[in-house]
């Protein structure tokens, strides 16, 4: 699917035109126009960085609510492993899954096992891969969108392996449909998400026709209901004894977890969209060819830093690391079974990823060159302070907007100030030169 859908939107009632989102957006995809923030669809990658930055809570993710799922006979919550890091340590992953079953889902499935399977599959894939390197992890949808948008030539480096959340949804639907003897279409799989980008990948998956997940709810949306259920559990039951998650798999929630799980020598993990952009720039210039695999995640510290989470990302990170240690002893997955499924194509994706090019200066290259020159001329006359008062993040992006006809040069306060100064000096000159004023002045003085 190549249609652009976004899961981040601005509430115009609440927006006060603050520049916070414009200046923090790593994709330079927000402008303030006529006092309200506007998202430029062709540039936004749905990372959600703006959601937490907005001082007026005016930026909202588009998540599904419980009512959307009433059409399904049976619902399964598929929580991101990040969810396990959002509560006090005394609440084990198993108790959190149990709580999910009490707040309205018929079942809750752990994803960490699937993360581990995918780790094993990537290891296998790398041993037989001889194409261009470094391969880029395709599991952060904001990074995939960025590549589709700004680095289309790097699409061939995206690993053609299905994501753990999709595999989990597929396995669970199959299992439940057999158990309950109902068609898979009547089972709804709902992702519990740390970010809007994952919801976007459910609504319009870049790598296949349709997602197996049926919607997403943010961690922050269900946090309170989960917490009250968790607090009501009998304190004498020790849920921490349960062996229910994969140590390798839960590590995927933090930066480096996926890369480390591959046990390959030349891997790299990068988090934060600004840093990802720098790495992609290097790859595009032909650098980093000595690397096999690069894990790129849009949020700082990885998925635990997602904008729809509740916990402090650093505290969440330490909880995840503790869980990886706690569940490290046993390899949760049986490689023979996984290998068999891999050989059958269970994990592979073959669809080509479409590019989503940003708006060009002009369709005609000659005209685009002219506009580029105009842009450079405009930049020279701007103050270069990147103050943002015009509503664009930088003077250069403002100049581009002016050339594109999306902004007026008089939206720059410095330009307006220059013009007022010029007009007022012309007025003073006119007044001083007028015969009437000079007589009055003369008579007044004498």
């Amino acid at each position: 699917m190549s249609q652009i859908v976004h899961t981040v939107s601005i509430d115009r009632e609440l927006c006060k035109g603050s520049m916070a989102c414009v200046q923090s957006c790593p994709a330079e995809a927000i402008r303030v126009r006529k006092g309200k923030a506007v998202i430029l669809d062709e540039l936004c990658v749905d990372c959600g960085e703006c959601i937490q930055i907005c001082p007026n809570n005016a930026i909202k993710p588009q998540t599904s609510s419980f009512i959307d799922f009433s059409q399904y006979k049976y619902t399964i919550a598929v929580p991101s492993p990040v969810l396990y890091s959002q509560f006090d340590r005394k609440f084990s992953p198993n108790s959190i899954l149990k709580a999910l079953r009490q707040i309205g889902f018929d079942d809750a499935a752990d994803v960490t096992y699937c993360c581990e399977s995918v780790s094993l599959v990537i290891r296998e894939f790398l041993t037989t891969y001889h194409g261009p390197v470094p391969l880029i992890s395709p599991f952060c949808p904001a990074v995939v969108r960025l590549i589709q948008n700004r680095y289309p030539d790097l699409r061939e480096l995206l690993l053609p392996i299905e994501s753990p959340m999709e595999i989990c949804a597929r396995d669970q639907k199959l299992k439940k449909s057999r158990e309950l003897n109902i068609p898979q279409e009547e089972i709804g799989a709902i992702y519990i998400t740390p970010c809007p980008a994952k919801i976007n990948s459910i609504l319009c998956p870049p790598r296949k026709e349709e997602s197996l997940l049926n919607g997403g709810i943010s961690i922050s949306e269900i946090y309170n209901s989960l917490l009250s259920v968790l607090s009501s559990f009998d304190k004498n039951i020790n849920y921490s004894e349960d062996r229910c998650i994969s140590g390798i798999g839960v590590g995927w929630a933090v930066m480096g977890g996926e890369a480390k799980s591959l046990q390959a020598e030349n891997t790299l993990a990068v988090a934060g969209l600004h840093n990802v952009i720098r790495i992609l720039d290097d790859i595009e210039k032909g650098r980093l060819r000595d690397l096999e695999y690069v894990e790129c995640l849009a949020c700082p510290e990885g998925c635990v830093g997602g904008s729809l989470t509740v916990g402090n990302p650093y505290i969440s990170r330490s909880k995840i690391i503790r869980l990886t240690e706690q569940f490290s002893e046993l390899a949760a997955q049986d490689w023979d079974t996984t290998k068999d499924l891999y050989d059958k194509g269970h994990f592979l994706l073959s669809q080509e990823i479409p590019s989503i090019p940003p708006k060009l200066l002009d369709k005609d290259i000659g005209a685009a060159i002219q506009k580029m020159k105009m842009r450079d001329e405009i930049v020279k006359t701007l103050p270069g302070t990147d103050c943002g008062a015009c509503g664009a993040p930088t003077c250069a992006s403002f100049a581009r907007d002016v050339v594109n006809g999306d902004a007026d040069i008089n939206m720059c306060v410095f330009k307006v100030y220059e013009k007022i100064k010029k007009i007022s000096s012309q007025l003073t000159e006119l007044l001083n030169g007028s015969a009437f004023m000079s007589t009055r002045n003369h008579s007044g003085k004498s």
Binding site: K285, L360, I365, I369, D376, R400
Partner: protein
């Protein structure tokens, strides 16, 4: 009207902090103008390797970037030690980089061969003790 875009950039030898910025800027301009992305990639590999050669070996250099709808030209002229044996310098794996540079991931002896591989036209001239001039052309 002749539509040629020209911009000149300065590169300072030994300035590893800003190394690579010129090629990043050139790449951004080409993408905005709407040049085919596989061509942008070839041009940016050439620009990057040429820029890094100035940073690593020369005192200073100028990168002249000019493009029209049909062709992109990158001319890199530096003030530096120059190259004694151009044929040898063009050989894959040959490098005069110090071990420090190689530890930083540079100087693998692939720079000039890489430029030649990615360019449609390539010309190199050098005067020992004065500097080196590269002329790179890629059809858009």
């Amino acid at each position: 009207m002749e539509s040629t875009y020209v911009q000149e950039f300065e590169v300072i030898g030994g300035d590893f902090l800003r190394a690579g910025q010129v090629s990043t800027q050139i790449k951004a301009i080409l993408k905005e103008i709407g040049i085919n992305h596989s061509i942008v990639r070839r041009i940016s590999i050439c620009a990057y390797e040429a820029e890094m050669n100035v940073v690593m070996y020369a005192q200073r250099g100028k990168i002249l970037f000019s493009m029209n709808p049909h062709k992109t030209n990158i001319t890199v002229e530096d003030e530096g030690p120059g190259i004694e044996d151009i044929e040898l310098a063009m050989r894959e794996g040959y490098s005069t980089a110090t071990s420090e540079m190689q530890e930083m991931g540079f100087g693998a002896g692939m720079g000039l061969p890489n430029i030649k591989k990615n360019a449609d036209t390539f010309h190199i001239s050098s005067v020992v003790g004065k500097g080196t001039k590269l002329q790179i052309g890629i059809m858009n």
